[in-house]
Symmetry: C2
């Protein structure tokens, strides 16, 4: 008999079918035992007697049974198969799970973060944990659709680089055939080099930061979604970043509405026109609203980001707001200063519900200016030889932006810690297992 | 005036328009000068006088001009805009390129491999080089479409791992906050851990091999496209891998036909049913066809792969052939031995026009068998703790496969060296610049 996947069961009322999946929950009433079986497409109730009583959560089973309608008062409207159940005929245990070290059967997985990560291969199976990554896959797909609609070509760029090029953050060193090499801090320099080749590109790539600090917002290895465009000015870039931001969120809203409602996420407000402010304008609005004067600060503080997002929601019915013109010195070396006021740059962040989810800028596209900018930051142009090649041999005005995939996932689902938005998060204490445990293992 | 992209020019006959792009070729006949201008969408001929005569290849320009039909005998059927040309009104040089160190204006870029790579940011602009990566983007998209049609969820898995887990090939060591960590040899172990979570997954991810050898077929950093499926037997897996292989190649054939014909690639023969042979059957056929007896060898030699592909083309009109049942000892530890004859495994390669482009197997899904298999290879189960978690707590029969993105691109376009199919190839001699050059730079 062919396997039927769970979501198709309601089409087979009255028939004998075969299903395969994991035991999620068992409710044992003695003579009558109920199992919730999960497969990739959904969950279904199986009803039977003692044949089911030895089952435990995470056992992998194959069941044949008859699809029958549930009594009207037993219909579960929360699930796709809620109007039916499977009355068991035969059961085979395909794989017997060992005893689970904590309760996985509640709607919310009630474990502390270290346990969540120590048992990651197990905790990911919990439907609420799993659904985080269905949202993440939708974020990727929404981003990709928008980037492709803007004519961007998808490319793969390297993650090992010869020098710690971007400056600033700490980098991971790699032993590369006896030479020093480094994990890239971002795909930034490569995507820029590809602008003269393809004009418009996008990359979804790993980024590595060896920052020796533990926060709820940073990972040592993360995924970035980047676009870069040639022949664009600042206004074009603002249009494109807002388009990609809006389309990505819309796609998630459309394809993951059940998960969003499960996480009690209010409907995302996406306006036709995202409000745009310079950083200084944002600071003045915050001063007016709160009396707190940050108008001399060189960046928006986290509380400023939250306050200006409140403003955007209240005055523009928008969960998004674009902030431009951050101080030139606070941004990466390749950021173009505003010719009208070089203290500030043609840079931007897109804020979403209180947090920055995207960052980018118009870039310096003139070769000589770029060499100067590199030197001004005490970096060595020799370490940028191939990057500079791209500018030496003709480069149009260009710019782009970058989303943090885990960051946006965290923010959409209002997760407390970015580690929850990474399948296997890496930080200074953990690479799957805790480094302290690995160290003592190796000593034995 | 709004910019018109090149491919839309024929819709604007008789109008004055603005285009932006790179100077590709200049033909200077004194009073009459012709420029081929390239943008992301195509190439167009611009005709003018002395205003154009100072231009050099790779200069970035903005031109306004009138779209006029070419005389019938001057129509160029090879390009989309071949029936029109742009008669210049104004020109602005947006970015002046430095002198190019070699001729980029011929149909084939005639430089040696070291030059191709030393000037990678420049040589990628050559239209024939660039089109390799348009094919590569199509390979990715075709793969993704097929994987999604099979209900696989797209996920991102880590590239830094705590131990050099898969054994066999050499690995790159990373200084991870003072601990030893390693770049993953493949996303294999992670995608398997995700089977109980999502049942069907796909990942497009970097893979790292520190093999200290220079061949035309290996890169130190490459891109892998992987699928993994739960609740599948060997026959299902063969169906899925062939489906993904066929759909990927079909998508490339459909969307890149102009590039394939530019590279003189004969039409790809994709049969409804891909011929399937065990390795031993393939060796016997080769013996019959060539008199060469490899029937005792433990693997197919490169010449065997070529010969059996010839057989598939001649007897099945197929550019694809699936080979199964490689010796268990020749495959990775997680490969399931054939219960009917454990010397051989439930493994497979997909060959395409003489070379393997995909590899995979049914996996060991039983926890105890997997621990034994790890020990048999002299690996330490302690280094697989989280991986083994996935099997300890219930794992269905599972399996999958993996494509090498550069390998398949190379093979589709019949490139001589896999480095041509990587934007910025890494090998033991080069990370963008040659390591020897970097070393002497650092000494200075």
């Amino acid at each position: 008999m062919q396997r039927t996947i769970v979501k198709e069961i309601p089409e087979h009322k009255g028939e004998i079918i075969k299903v395969c999946g994991f035991v999620n929950i068992k409710r044992d009433h003695g003579k009558l035992v109920f199992i919730d079986l999960i497969d990739r497409s959904g969950v279904v109730q199986i009803v039977g007697g003692e044949k089911l009583s030895s089952l435990k959560p995470q056992d992998v089973i194959e069941v044949t049974g008859k699809v029958q309608e549930r009594p009207v008062n037993m219909v579960n409207k929360k699930i796709l198969t809620g109007s039916v159940e499977l009355s068991i005929e035969t059961i085979e245990i395909l794989s017997k799970a060992e005893e689970i070290p904590f309760d996985m059967t509640q709607e919310i997985l009630n474990v502390e973060l270290p346990t969540l990560l120590d048992f990651r291969a197990l905790t990911l199976r919990h439907s609420k944990v799993k659904s985080i990554f269905k949202v993440q896959a939708a974020v990727m797909q929404g981003f990709r659709n928008a980037a492709q609609a803007l004519d961007c070509v998808e490319l793969f760029v390297p993650t090992i680089s010869a020098s710690a090029t971007e400056g600033g953050a700490e980098v991971f060193k790699v032993d590369y055939y006896g030479h020093n090499a480094y994990m890239v801090q971002s795909p930034q320099l490569y995507k820029q080099m590809l602008v003269p080749v393809f004009e418009r590109v996008f990359v979804i790539s790993h980024a590595y930061r060896a920052e020796p600090s533990v926060t709820t917002r940073h990972l040592s290895e993360s995924v970035q979604m980047d676009c870069e465009f040639g022949f664009v000015n600042f206004d074009d870039l603002l249009d494109y970043l807002e388009l990609v931001g809006k389309e990505t969120l819309k796609y998630v809203g459309k394809t993951c509405s059940d998960i969003l409602s499960d996480f009690n996420i209010p409907e995302i407000k996406i306006p036709e026109n995202v409000p745009r402010l310079t950083m200084r304008e944002a600071q003045r609005i915050i001063l007016e609203r709160t009396g707190i004067d940050h108008t001399k600060e060189k960046d928006l503080e986290p509380e400023d980001e939250r306050e200006i997002c409140k403003w955007a929601l209240e005055t523009h019915n928008s969960d998004l707001v674009t902030i431009t013109h951050y101080p030139t010195k606070k941004r990466a070396f390749y950021t173009l200063a505003d010719p009208k006021d070089p203290e500030f740059s043609l840079s931007y962040d897109l804020l979403f519900r209180g947090i920055e989810i995207l960052s980018g800028s118009q870039r310096i596209s003139n070769y000589k200016d770029l060499v100067s900018a590199i030197k001004e930051r005490d970096l060595d142009p020799k370490n940028f030889e191939m990057y500079l090649q791209a500018f030496k041999y003709g480069m149009p005005l260009e710019g782009g932006f970058s989303f943090g995939l885990e960051r946006i996932t965290m923010q959409i689902l209002q997760l407390k810690n970015i580690r929850e938005a990474s399948l296997f998060p890496r930080d200074m204490e953990r690479v799957d297992q805790r480094l302290s445990v690995l160290k003592s293992n190796n000593k034995k």
